[in-house]
């Protein structure tokens, strides 16, 4: 049994005129210490999927599927079953987390707050714990008495991570945790996240549009397109042997420091999410599409045991290779 098992998760968001099917049947599981990357263009549903896991979507959203944490479905009774888990077992760090600290409370007070709120300790004990947490993320414990404005951006992002770790969660969700940071600070934060998963057995879900970040941090990654996983597998095989054209094109659109291959944009735009798609959602932008792709919706099918892709052309190739 996995630590976290997400089964057939869907999210719909109701707008004034339309009903958008934003996440369309997503499945994944996480083991302790595992690092999973979710990548894709903006609007592909990666952030929505994260927020859904914690029941943090607005009231206009509806969710279906199962999210099984240690054998219990936390989606079973909606907010009633998600609330006890939120922050206690599954915590989140946002892109702008460093700017979301309360300016009039000390950093230590803010880290201690969830510990007290969840009834895990009283204030003095929680304060000591906050100091330990600051140490854990590489900030001297004396800084617990300081205010956010006295911290640099990188330190505040570390403090936000410490706050997410306050209740000793087993799953950490990170939504573009380094996008607003400079490259040097980004390297520090990424190194910290990798270290924490190792030391604490924390499972990490990292959402980013930045493929090199996932390549360096995660062991597994899922590529999202129009609310679906189109490819999933070890980061090494996604980069060296992508089976979905979208995965290949995303890497080709990302410049690399050393490789001088031409960087290509992906023509077209993702499909509208207010309707069902007859064929493959990526077909209009795909450079390998065949006739079948306009009518047949490819399912995410397993390839050689460790990975999966949702591409009719990719399937046929792997079937041919197997026979």
């Amino acid at each position: 049994m996995s630590l976290l098992d997400v089964r057939d998760m869907h999210v719909w968001i109701e707008t004034r005129r339309r009903r958008l099917h934003v996440v369309r049947g997503v499945n994944f599981s996480l083991e302790p210490g595992q690092r999973l990357g979710l990548v894709g263009e903006s609007g592909c549903g990666k952030t929505t999927a994260l927020l859904a896991l914690l029941g943090l979507l607005p009231p206009s959203a509806s969710v279906s599927g199962q999210v099984i944490l240690d054998g219990t479905d936390i989606f079973a009774k909606g907010e009633e079953t998600v609330a006890p888990v939120r922050w206690r077992d599954i915590a989140i760090v946002f892109q702008g987390a460093m700017n979301a600290l309360n300016p009039v409370k000390t950093v230590g007070w803010q880290i201690a707050e969830p510990i007290v709120r969840h009834g895990l300790a009283r204030r003095p004990e929680a304060r000591r714990r906050a100091e330990e947490l600051l140490n854990l993320v590489g900030i001297p414990s004396a800084a617990a008495r300081r205010y956010p404005h006295e911290f640099s951006g990188g330190m505040r992002q570390r403090a936000a991570i410490a706050m997410a770790l306050a209740c000793e969660p087993r799953v950490l969700l990170a939504d573009e945790p380094t996008t607003a940071l400079d490259v040097m600070v980004q390297a520090q934060i990424l190194e910290l996240l990798v270290r924490l998963t190792g030391e604490l057995g924390l499972a990490l879900v990292l959402v980013t549009h930045d493929l090199p970040v996932v390549a360096q941090v995660c062991d597994q990654a899922a590529v999202m397109y129009a609310g679906e996983f189109v490819e999933k597998g070890p980061v090494d095989s996604l980069y060296h042997d992508p089976r979905h054209p979208y995965t290949r094109l995303l890497f080709a659109a990302t410049p690399d420091l050393y490789r001088r291959d031409s960087v290509l944009s992906i023509p077209g735009a993702p499909p509208r999410l207010d309707q069902d798609l007859a064929g493959c959602p990526f077909q209009p932008r795909c450079d390998q599409a065949v006739d079948r792709c306009t009518t047949e919706h490819p399912r995410l099918l397993e390839i050689d045991g460790s990975r999966a892709a949702a591409c009719l052309v990719g399937h046929r190739e792997s079937e041919a290779a197997a026979s």
Partner: protein, 341 residues
Amino acid sequence: MTVAERAQANGTPLLSVRDLATYYRVRRAGAGTGPGAGKRLLRAVDGVSFEVNRGEMLALVGESGCGKTTVVQSVLRMTEPTGGSVIFDGIDLGQLSARRMRPLRQRLQVIEQDPYESLDPRFRVRQIVEEPLLVHGLGGSRAERRQVIIQALERAGLAPAEQYLDRHPHELSGGQRQRVAIATSLVLNPELLLADEPVSMLDVSVRAGILALLDTLRRDGQLAIVMITHDLSTAAHFADRIAVMYLGRIVEEGPADDVVTNPQHPYTKALISAVPKRDPRDTTKADILTGETPNPLDVPAGCRFHPRCPVAVAQCREVDPELRTPAAATKPGHRAACILS
């Protein structure tokens, strides 16, 4: 011979910046009132020199707060430089009155970072692109202006332009918006483009297209481009030369490939090691610098990088190193400001 090399051989650079300095007087919190009381000098740009030729792209790379945006603003006199000179096509911009600077502005255009904020949401595309023509009193009759607008849009990759003329910004994707912003510059036929993080707000899938467009403009259109970016990978791919800034100074400059594959300044080396690589098998560790990004209110004596430098020696605390050709440089024009290189 590349376009840039040919341009260089042809003589003087289009833009030549010498010892540019831009200081701001800022008030220190709680340091009293009255004239001069508690005022401190923020040295945003502190002695920057570089040149750009027609047909060439120079990338200014550095972390936030290193002064790269202030360089662009100072070149355009959107902020008045404290010292140094900016020579554009033989004209010293610093000597010009505001009135005489104005006709020059059409030859130097900026591309802003965020096409979601830089376009007026109430205007249609044709009005947005027409605006600079009206401001500068160019473009002739209404019908002639329409032709100029269409040409600029198509040059920016929005073809057929008629499809876009009557749209509002909210009807366009991020990439299309940035192309409209670029068309707004092109409509004046500029010779120099200053692009401040032109793709950082855009989706990965469309970034390459915008960068390729800038690449085409400089190669085919002979524009000189200064691109500000924090992304070394982008700089390495698209620029001819890279200048690395640290705390208001250029600490290393050279042909893009050489700066990336043969960095000579310890700061450049650290920066390059911290860039995440696309290949998961490339697991070279980042040489993470200790200490905080320093404060331009309090520039260290000697080499401004010495407090964070992993290889600093005693001398680095006293000597403020100048840009010079390092012993290990393999290409002409590669310079670093480090006494150890």
